[in-house]
């Protein structure tokens, strides 16, 4: 049986940057009702770049690990760059195959970041 890459399980069990960011410039909640995933992203900007990301919420390994990894990888990136990211960018980030049935799980964290950027 193929198990998720170690990195994903690690981020799932020990999510990074987990918790409410009290001085956030914007936040956004994304939920996937059919599976019960729910991610809130908190965003702090430094001009047109991402200065800090934190998240709260719960979900499956893919959705939670993706959110956790994004809070590390997107810091320093320009908001325009982040807004242009898609499922392919997430695939590259996670280094795993994402099947169609899991694409919703994989995208929830990025959607939350992108929505938060639009909310600023």
């Amino acid at each position: 049986m193929d198990l998720y890459a170690y990195q994903i399980l690690d981020h799932y069990k020990r999510p990074r940057n987990y918790g409410v960011l009290t001085d956030a410039d914007a936040s956004s909640e994304q939920a996937n009702l059919s599976c019960g995933d729910n991610i809130v992203m908190y965003l702090k900007l430094d001009d047109d770049k991402i200065a800090k990301l934190q998240f709260t919420g719960d979900g499956c390994a893919i959705s939670k690990a993706t959110a956790s990894m994004l809070t590390e990888k997107l810091v320093g990136k320009k908001t325009t760059e982040v807004l242009a990211m898609d499922l392919e960018s997430i695939r590259e980030l996670l280094h795993i195959e994402i099947s169609d049935r899991r694409s919703g799980c994989a995208m929830i964290g990025l959607s939350a970041v992108q929505k938060a950027i639009k909310n600023t």
Partner: protein, 401 residues
Amino acid sequence: MNPRSDFPILNKTINGETIVYFDNAATTQKPQIVIDAVSNFYTNSNANVHRGINPLAEEATKLYEDARATVAQFIGAASKEIIFTRGTTESINLVARAWGEASLQAGDIVVLSQAEHHANYVPWLQLKEKLGIKLAVIPVLASGELDLQAAKKLLAEPRVKLLTLSQASNVLGIINPIKELFAEARDLGIVTLLDAAQTVGHLPIDVLDLHCDFLVASAHKLYGPTGVGILFGRAELLAKMPPFLGGGGMIASVATDSFVAGPVPEKFEAGTPPIAEAIGMAAACDYIKQVSWTEIIKQEETLTEYATQKLVERPYIKLLGTALKRLPVFSLVINDLHAHDLADLLGQAGFITRAGHHCAQPLHDSLGVVASLRLSLSFYNTTEELDRFFSALDQVYQSFN
């Protein structure tokens, strides 16, 4: 008896592993005899029904009406009490629109249970919005059984007009005491609707014995095709109901300014019906009779007992609903392991299960669970498959911990 050889798909492999199909509550697999019935209709008898004075249309019409008779007999009803629909969901909507809108008024109460499928919630919530009816919800106990005391209290309210219940929850699998509750409803003059979607392929059903005014079911959970189901309604009720969808096939006559609806059941079958699918549904009923309820129930009880034992042996698994009188349906929750991950990883090894809230969000909310992993078995499953499943589950669990 080896029914597995009747179902060609059970030999399918995924990633080199023969599939273990444990998603029968979502849809059952189809025996060759049903596939052949649908295929034979298109190969030899296809024509539209109730239209055209030609011999082919007559042949198709006869097959379609014979199918109605077979399905009627399968649940102890008369042919004229069976309406073919697209499935359980459409059947409930038909009752809500045709019977509900004509019979219910603001303040009237529809009683249902916490564990109902969304298909038995939303049409009534729509009537709540449209007419101002009220919904009264029978709670589910920790065992997964309905709170009968609460149910009896709710039914005693003077404005209760309908009791609508599933015979077994699609999540918990626990069989509800329908006969007892429906008898009580009948005594109080309350109309009864039985959602038999989950049970029709697992238990013999008799609409008279269960005091059903309406019964709804789908063919695809009965080893038949998708896209067809039935509404059973007592003849007096159907006769009084206005039509549901309008169109060809449901009328006696149409003028530019008015129409006259046709007789039951055509009144409720606007448009070309699912002809091949209805014939397939009848073939599925015949197949079940051929296998026999005795064999089906015996094997499913064996599987239920075996699976229960396997579950009890694993303290890391929480089973939703523990009552013993159940279908071979089990919804599991495992701490720190999301149902989607489980279903995905098990799926890669050939185990077909379902993760989510299974279209029963009110139930999951009341249990404080966002999602569960459901195994739903059928008589063609085996204890060996359960062994394979639980050893794979142990492996996934260990890898997450």
